[in-house]
Symmetry: D2
Subunit: 389 residues, 4 copies
C-alpha cells in the first residue's frame, strides 16, 4: 500500500524514522517540514507520548508574573510560562497577577481529588440492576483491593452509582497521586470489572465506559462531584488597587457580576466566569498537561461578595481541573523546564501545581472583567493583537 505511513516495527522513535516520515509527507503533499523537524526533543524519550513522530509544534511561550500565592502547597511569588499564539493573553494575565499580588496575593486550596473511570453494567431489568448495585456496595473493599493491585499509586476512594432502566452506571473515584491518572484508573477499573463479572452470582456484562466518566468532555456531573481536582482561588480585591490598576470600582464590578450570572444561567454555561480556558490551555501546553482536558478543566463557579468597607471578595472554584506533575508530557524537554520554573516537576507537586493553575485563572478573571467594565478590552487587543485579519 503506497500511501501507508512508514513505521519501523522494531524501533520507531528515532530521528531517522521521523525524517523518513517527513520525507513521506513531502512526497505526498509537497510540503517540506523544516521547522517541524527542528526540535530539540530526543525521539528516544518519546515512546509513551506519541506514535508516528515527525517533529514538534513550537508554541511561543510568554512570561507572566510575579503572582503571589498563599496556598497550602504553593506559597510565594511565581513566574508563569504561558504557551499561546493569542496576542494580549499574556499581557492580560500579567495585569491580573499584578492586581492580585498588590492585594496581598491569591489564596488557593485543593478541596477534592477524584479521577474516574465509569463502567456500566447491563442487566435484564431494573430490579436485577438494583440488586447488583447493593452487591457492589457490599463488596467495596474487595473491589478496591483488586483495583489497587494494578497500581502503586491509585486509591479507589468511592464508587458512585447511577441507575437508569436495566443499567447500572458506576463512577469509580480514585486519588491518583501526582499523575492526572486517566490511564491508571482505566487499568484499575478494568481489573475491578473483570473481578466483578467473575464474582457476581450469575455473572455480569459490562462496558468499561458508559460515558459517565465523562472523559475529555465537560459535564454537569463533573461540576457537581469533581473530576481531577477541585480547586478554589480566592482573593480580596482592594477598592483602591482595582481603581488604580484597572480604572473601575469594586461596586461596579459586583453589579456586573449579577449581570454575568444571568448570561451564564441563560446560556447554560460551563462556567459563570470569563475565560478560564485561556490561562489553562496556555499553562497546559507549556507544562506538558493534556490539552484535551481543557474540555473538563475550564468549568468553574465564580462566587463573590462586596465587603462592608468596599473591598471585593472574589473566588473561582475550578471543579474539574485535570493536571499532573509526573507522567504524560511532564517529562519532555521544554515541558519539564516549565514545570521546574514553578517548582512543580515530579512527585509531591501536583497539588501545588493545581493551586498555581487556579491562581492564574483568577488573575485572568480580574483582568478581563476589568477590561470589559472599563471599555479597553478591544483597544488592548488592537494594540497586542495586530496581526489579526
Amino acid at each position: 500500500m503506497d500511501g501507508k505511513i512508514p513505521r519501523d516495527a522494531q524501533d520507531d522513535h528515532t530521528a531517522a524514522m521521523a525524517q523518513r516520515r517527513r520525507d513521506f509527507v513531502q512526497q505526498h503533499t509537497g510540503v517540506t517540514l523544516d521547522h517541524v523537524g527542528r526540535c530539540s526533543i530526543d525521539p528516544a524519550t518519546l515512546p509513551g507520548n506519541i506514535e508516528n513522530f515527525i517533529g514538534a509544534a513550537q508554541v511561543p511561550i510568554g512570561l507572566a508574573g510575579p503572582l503571589r500565592i498563599d496556598g497550602e502547597h504553593a506559597r510565594g511569588d511565581f513566574y508563569v510560562p504561558l504557551a499561546t499564539t493569542e496576542g494580549t493573553l499574556v499581557a492580560s494575565y500579567n495585569r491580573g497577577m499584578r492586581l492580585l499580588t498588590e492585594c496581598g496575593g491569591v489564596k488557593t486550596t485543593v478541596v477534592e481529588h477524584r479521577m474516574q473511570r465509569s463502567p456500566v453494567f447491563m442487566f435484564d431489568d431494573a430490579l436485577a440492576a438494583r440488586e447488583f448495585g447493593h452487591w457492589v456496595d457490599a463488596h467495596l473493599a474487595e473491589i478496591a483491593r483488586v483495583a489497587e493491585a494494578t497500581t502503586r499509586i491509585g486509591k479507589l476512594t468511592s464508587i458512585y452509582q447511577y441507575a437508569v432502566g436495566p443499567l447500572r452506571h458506576l463512577r469509580f473515584n480514585y486519588t491518583t497521586g501526582d499523575a492526572a491518572g486517566q490511564n491508571m484508573t482505566g487499568k484499575a477499573t478494568l481489573a475491578a470489572c473483570e473481578w466483578i463479572a467473575e464474582q457476581y452470582p450469575g455473572g455480569a456484562k459490562y462496558l468499561l465506559s458508559g460515558n459517565m466518566d465523562t472523559d475529555k468532555k465537560h459535564s454537569q456531573v463533573n461540576t457537581l462531584v469533581t473530576r481531577g481536582k477541585r480547586v478554589v482561588a480566592e482573593a480580596v480585591i482592594r477598592q483602591e488597587a482595582l481603581k488604580r490598576l484597572m480604572g473601575v470600582d469594586t461596586a461596579e464590578m459586583f453589579a456586573m457580576r449579577q449581570v454575568s450570572n444571568t448570561g451564564a444561567m441563560l446560556a447554560g454555561s460551563a462556567n459563570n466566569g470569563s475565560h478560564a480556558a485561556n490561562g489553562l490551555a496556555a499553562l497546559f501546553i507549556a507544562t506538558g498537561q493534556d490539552a484535551a482536558n481543557v474540555a473538563e478543566s475550564h468549568a468553574g463557579v465564580v462566587y463573590s461578595q462586596l465587603l462592608a468597607g468596599g473591598d471585593y471578595y472574589w473566588s473561582i472554584t475550578l471543579t474539574s481541573l485535570i493536571v499532573g506533575t509526573v507522567g504524560g508530557g511532564t517529562g519532555l524537554a521544554t515541558q519539564r523546564e516549565c514545570l521546574e520554573m514553578l517548582g512543580c516537576h515530579g512527585n509531591g507537586r501536583a497539588d501545588k501545581f493545581a493551586e498555581i493553575c487556579a491562581g492564574v485563572v483568577l488573575a485572568g478573571e480580574t483582568s478581563l472583567s476589568g477590561a470589559v467594565l472599563h471599555g479597553d478590552w478591544v483597544s488592548s487587543h488592537d494594540r497586542y493583537g495586530r496581526n489579526r485579519p
Copy 2:
C-alpha cells in the same frame, strides 16, 4: 522593582529580550530554559501572538492517515499532524482513519458559520428593555453597517436577543471569513454598541459582554445555535470492515450507542460521543488554532442508525468548532507547515479545514468505541503509553 519581568518598550520581540527574560527566570527560579530557548521561531514574527516571549513549548507531532474525506471543501486522502503528549492518541485516530477510508471515506459538511460577541444592555425595567429590543430589530441594517465598517471581512448576519429582567442580552452573529474571528467580532460589536448607545433615544448603557458569547466556555446556547462553525461528519461503516479491523459487530456498536446516550444524558454532558477533544486539541496545537477553544469546540451530538443490511450510519455534529486558516497562530513556522500539509493555509481554506477537523473527530470516535466494546482499550494504552506512573 526587582521582581519585574524585563521588557523593552521599543522592540520587545527580539532574541536578545527573550534571552534576557530566560536569564531573569534563571536568576529567580534557578532553572535554565535550554530547550525552551532552542526554537526556530523568528521573534520578529511574534508581535500579535505573544507578549514577554521567552521561547517555545515543543509539542511532539505524530502523523496519522490517510483519511479519505468526501466533503464539499475537503476532498481526497489526507495525512494529519497531531500534536500531543498522550501515548496511543495518534495510533487510535490512525486506526479510525483506516476504518473510515476503507468504508469509502467520511462525508463532511459545514452547515453553519456564526461567530459571536454578546453585549448586554441595561435598563430601568423590563418594559424599557423590551422596547429597546424592538428598536434593535428595526435598526438591524444600520447596526450591521456600523459593525462592518470596522472589518474588511466580517459580516453581521443576525442579532439574537435574550431578555432577563431589565437586561437585554444581544448575541451578534457574524461570518468571519477564514479567521476564527473573536477579535474581529469584538471590535465590530464595540463599534455597533457605541453607535447604539449614541443613537438610542435616551441613551443606553451596556457591557461589551454579558457572558452569553460564551467565549472560551462550553454552553448549551453554543450547542443550539452554533459558535464558530457547525460541521457534520458522517459515514456508513460496513459491517465487514468493522469486524475485521476492530473485531466488533455493528449491531453491538448500535446497542452500545443506546447505553452511551443514557450516560451523556445523566451526566449532562457537552457531547454524547467519546472524545472529540482529543483529536481537536492535537490538531489545534499543530495548526496554530487557539487551544483554549477546545472548551467550545469539543461539544457535539452523535446520531446514528443501524441500516437494514447491517451497515452502520454514524454521524457526529460539532456544534461549535472554532477554527481559522488565517490570523492567530496560523502563520507561525511549524503551524503553517502543518496547515500546508493539509492544503489549508491561508484564505479560502477555513471550511476545508473545518471539514478535516470533523472527519478526524469521527475517526477517533470509531476507534475508541471499538476499543471499549472489544475490550482492548486498556491494553492498547499499556502498549503505547508505557511511561505512565
Copy 3:
C-alpha cells in the same frame, strides 16, 4: 371483555355514564366514589376536556391578596385564588403579596410570546438537510400561509432551525392569542409539514415532533428562546418594609442571593429562584390551566441588585409561562369563576393573566427567601402544616 371501562359511543358525557363508571370502579376495586361523584360540573360541558368522566377532584382553594400590580395589562389590587393541599403555601404567598403591595406593587411585563411545535425533517445526509433548511427560509411566507389557514388566531412568527447530522429540527414559533395554543400549533404545523413534504423537490420525510418543542418538559431551549410567554415581574423592596414584615435586611438578602446562585449553578437548576412552581401550580389548578405545564412554566431567572440607598431591586423572569384565558379548562365551572375573580376570563386577557402569574411568583420568592433567611421557615410549616406525618 369484562374489565373494559363502560363507554357510550353515542353520548358519553352524561351523569348516567359517569355513575355507571363509578359503579364499575366500585365493582372492580370495592371503593365507593362518593365525593368524586359530588361535583357541580355539568357533564355536557366536558367534551373536549375529559374522556371516561367519573366526577371531579376537589382541590381546596385559599385566598391570597391583595397584590398590587402595576403592569401593562394587569393594573390594580388583586385577590388571588390558590388551589393547593400544601399547608403554609397560601399564607406564605399572602405575606409576600403584602410586602410587594406595601412597597408600591410589582411591575409586570410580557416580553415575548411564542408557542411551538417542532417537527424534524430527515434526509440522507447533512448536505441535503442544509439545503432543505435554506429552502424553508426561502418559503417562510408560504409556509406561514398554509399553517395559518388552519386557525383563526394563531400566527406563525418564525421558524428556528437546529441541525444535527442528516436531520433538520424546525421549531415553529406562533402567537396563539389568548389560548395556550398547543393544539392550535400542532394542527397548523401538521398542515405546514404536509405542504412542505409535498412541495419540496424530491419530497421530505418528517416527524411532527422531534422532541425540541419541548412540550411538557423543562429545557434550556425554552429558557433561552421562550415557550409560551416570557414574563418579568420586578419590584423595589424597601429596606424598612422588609425589615418590618420579614425581619431581615436587604443587604443580607442580597448576600444570600450570591449563595443561592451558586447552588443553582452547581445543581444545574431550571430556576435560580426559590419555588415558582408552588404559586404556579396552585394558580393553574384554580384557573383551568394545564397543570402539566408546570414542567415548563416553573423555569426562571432571578436578577437583582442592591440599590445605593439600601433598597433592593428584585426581578424574576419566567421564561416559559404557558397560560390561556380561553380554551382548555378555562371555561369549566369553578375555573371560570376563579379567572373572573381576576378579571381574566375570555378573550383579550391572557397577557393580563400572565402578568398576574409573574407577580404572584415574585411574591412567593420574597416570602420564602425571607423565611429561609430569618429562620422561621420550619416553624411556619409546623404551625400551618400540622397534618404532616
Copy 4:
C-alpha cells in the same frame, strides 16, 4: 384596612368563614363563587392543607385502564383516575395502557428513595469550608441522631457535600416512609444544622437552603442522584401488538428514538421521553399529591433496545418522583377515594403508588410516540379536544 381578607384567628376552617370570604370576593370583584363554594369537603379537615379557605376547584376525573403492572409492590390490573382538563389525555393514556397490558404488563421497580433538604454553611475561606466538610463526615452518626429525633419516620441516609469557594453545600438525603417528606426533612435538617452550628468548633453560619435541594425545581442534580423516588417502568412491546393497536413498526419506533434523543440533547431537556408531566399531573391532582412537584417529577431518561426478534424493549426511569400516600392532600375527600381505587391510601403504600405512576407514564409514552409516528396525533386531538379555539 378595608381590603384585608377576613380571617378568624380562633377557628378559620369553617363553612361560615369560607362563605364570608366568598362574600368578600363578591364585594371586591363582583364575582359570585357559586361553584367554588359547592364542594363536599368538610372545612374542619383542612387545617394543615390550606389557609383562607374559600371552596374547591373541581377538576374533572377520567378513568383509564386496566393497566397490568408486574412490580415489586404494585401487582395486578389497575384502573387509574386522571384529573385533567386536557381533552385526549385520558384516551391516549388508556390506549397505551391497553398496549402494555396486552404485552403482558409493565414491570416497575423503585430503585432509590431520597428526599432532601440542602443547607449551606458559609466560612471565611475555602480551607475552612473543606475542614468543616471533613468534620461533618466524621460526625455523621451524631448528626443523624439529632435529625432523626425530630421525626418518627425519617431516616438520614447520607449527606452529600458540594464545595464552592468558602461555601459548603450539604445535601441531606432521607428516607421518609410513605410521605413525600419535604416538611419532615426540613424540620430534621434544621435541628441538625442548629446542632452543627453549636457543636462545630468556632461555630458555623448557615442557611437552611442554599438552593441545591432543589425543591420544586427541575435540576440535573435531581436527575443524577434522585429526589424523592427513582422508579423504573419497563416493558417489552410485541411487534404484532404495536402494529395492530397503533399501526406502527417496532423498528420505526426505535429509529424514531434515535431522532428524539438528538432533540432532547440539543434542547437540554429534562426528559428525553415525550410527556411524563401529563400523566403525572393528572394523577397528582386526583390523588392529593403536591402538583408543584411536577416540576421535579417529570424528569426522566428513556432507554430502549430493539430485540433480536423484532420486539421492542422500552424503559423510562423517573429520577425524581415525589409522591406520598400519607400526609399532604392524601387524606382529603376525593383524593383519598382516588388513592383507595389504586389500593394506595395510607401507610406502606408509597412504593406501590410510585410504581403505578411510572407504569402510567410509560403507557403515555407508547401512545404519544405511536401517534406521532403514525400521524394521528393531531386528528385525535381534533376528535377529543373539540372545544379548542
